[in-house]
């Protein structure tokens, strides 16, 4: 199969972030970057599909300034065949602008499958995959935890809150991958050496008009001091209420 994987560079989330002087970005000093986690799963998914199903091509695409070449090289060192950088000065916050640039690149590529991570580690929007599918007028399954492909048809499981659904669709299609899909392999040292010789093409990103713009970035308010909600099982309803309305994790 000819598979495209759209990937994003993202910082290590274990970091304690600071806001840059501009107030419009995190301070990049000392940040470590990697493939956004779900994007790593997407690359791995593509590699395994092509390893299992015979000859194919895995093409990795990333939009952004030249630093994204580091993540493209990582994907190449994992085993992808070639890479495309859609060059832009920065990565816009407008997912639709990114989707337009990706769609322009993917349009005539003849891909059987286009993979995305479910969402990026940093912006966490989960919008670019389905937007790209829409612009390409392709069937799309988002946040899939399993993916089986046979005879040009795909079966995928999607995790919903407290439920799941199994969907079926024909290729070509767009899929965004979630937890449950294979984790990214470690790039082997041979793979890292081989990646130097693989093609990495640089093209201008065709972003178009951006209608979503960043006003500012700030750190969330300090965590309020902890408190004892109550004693014993009787305190559970109040805890659940706080988790829903205050902590917003339920």
């Amino acid at each position: 199969m000819k598979i495209a994987v759209c990937i994003k560079r993202g910082p290590d989330m274990e970091t304690r972030f600071k806001i840059a002087a501009s107030g419009k970005a995190v301070d990049e000093a000392g940040l470590k970057y990697d493939l956004s986690d779900f994007d790593g799963y997407a690359v791995e998914t593509a590699l395994q599909l092509n390893e299992k199903q015979g000859p194919g091509e895995t093409v990795v695409i990333s939009l952004g300034p030249d630093v994204v070449q580091e993540q493209l090289r990582k994907a190449l060192s994992m085993g992808a065949d070639r890479a495309v950088q859609l060059k832009s000065d920065s990565v816009p916050v407008d997912g639709l602008a990114i989707a337009r640039a990706l769609a322009a690149e993917l349009q005539s590529g003849g891909y059987d499958l286009i993979l995305f991570g479910r969402q990026a580690v940093d912006s966490a929007n989960a919008t670019v995959g389905p937007m790209t599918a829409e612009l390409l007028n392709l069937p799309c399954a988002t946040a899939v935890s399993t993916l089986d492909i046979a005879n040009g048809r795909a079966t995928a499981r999607r995790e919903l809150e407290g439920a799941a659904e199994v969907v079926e669709f024909a290729l070509p299609a767009v899929v965004t991958v979630d937890e449950g899909m294979p984790r990214a392999r470690y790039p082997s040292l041979k793979g890292i050496m081989a990646a130097r010789k693989k093609p990495l093409e640089v093209k201008a990103a065709q972003l178009g008009e951006e209608r979503l713009t960043l006003e500012k970035m700030e750190l969330p308010p300090e965590r309020a001091a902890g408190r004892i909600v109550g004693e014993g099982p009787g305190a559970v309803p109040e805890l659940v209420r706080l988790l829903h309305t205050e902590a917003k994790v339920l």
């Binding site: 470690y186 890292i192 050496m193």
Partner: protein
Amino acid sequence: MQDFFDIDSALSEEERAVRESVRQFVDERVIPVIGDCYVEGRFPREIIPGLAELGVFGANLPEEYGCAGLNNVAYGLIMQELERGDSGIRSFASVQGALVMYPIFAFGSEEQKKHYLPKMASGEIIGCFGLTEPDFGSNPSGMITMAKEQSDGSWMLNGGKMWITNGSQAHVAIVWAKTNGDKSDKSIRGFVVPTTTKGFSAKDQKGKLSLRASDTSELVMQDVHLPATALLPKSGGLKSPLMCLTQARYGISWGVIGAAMACYEEALAYSTSRVMFDKPIGGFQIQQQRLAIMLTEIVKAQLVSLHLGRLKDQGTFTPQQVSFAKRNNCDIATDVAREARRLLGANGILAEYASMRHMANLESVYTYEGTHDIHTLILGQAVTGLSAFN
């Protein structure tokens, strides 16, 4: 740890990529299990296939033999990351790559290289290196292990080796022996000995308080009969094993930095989270001094090893420079580990924390592959022109 001196800017993208890949492996596959392995006195064999798949064994040897063909800086960074996990893991890789694959590569026949190197890179064959003897450690030229050539060209090997890393799990041993009754070190040759050969036995040395997650063994060879093809044809004299040691010492100079980094990181994290007298202990001058010294010494050691690696890649490095790096870096790493352990207070004696494990390991690393004192004398000889050995 924080790249305080932006040393990363002196590394190529591939070198950084190699380090990151091995770092991730160590973080995910070694560090979670190594404390328990250490307490149990067990080498974590289960990680060998993963290390092989990554390609760390003999990573600086050529691709035509199934290796990664990395430069020496990338190789050094691998050693650093492995020892950030544990000296025992790095020792395993050092022995496999620098002390077994390297001599086969440097002194072996084409047949030996083709047979052994790909299988050793893939972890299918594990090796050990037999030079040190019970009575001859710092002075290997005194070795008594002897190989006698038979009329048909085969060899008969007798003797014993000690402090052999991987000895009891190795499939093959590189054994260094004097030959044909000649007691001078010029007669020393290397032999590739399958450990299943009759007369060869290995048993683990017990009671170690250091390198507990590593196998250290004693080898006994009693009338071990070897075919002519067991000889490493291009080996000759004490110089041959010493060349191997130079390779391994180079890797050690990098490796111990990894152990020191792990201790520093642990101490730093602890100092900012451990509260005593109502403030993080990192706010006290005495701990800040500890951390400042650790950081300084680690950065200096990194710069030494990096420059040494560049010289090695140019082909201009000397064994004396390797002694310099091995001596200095092991020394500062043992100091860093001890200070980290102290900063951790009582928690620092637990296997839950890494510092005391590294501290105990580093006492071995300080001692093996040329003790600190021997490297001091090598440097002394290099600068004065006067040998303190004889």
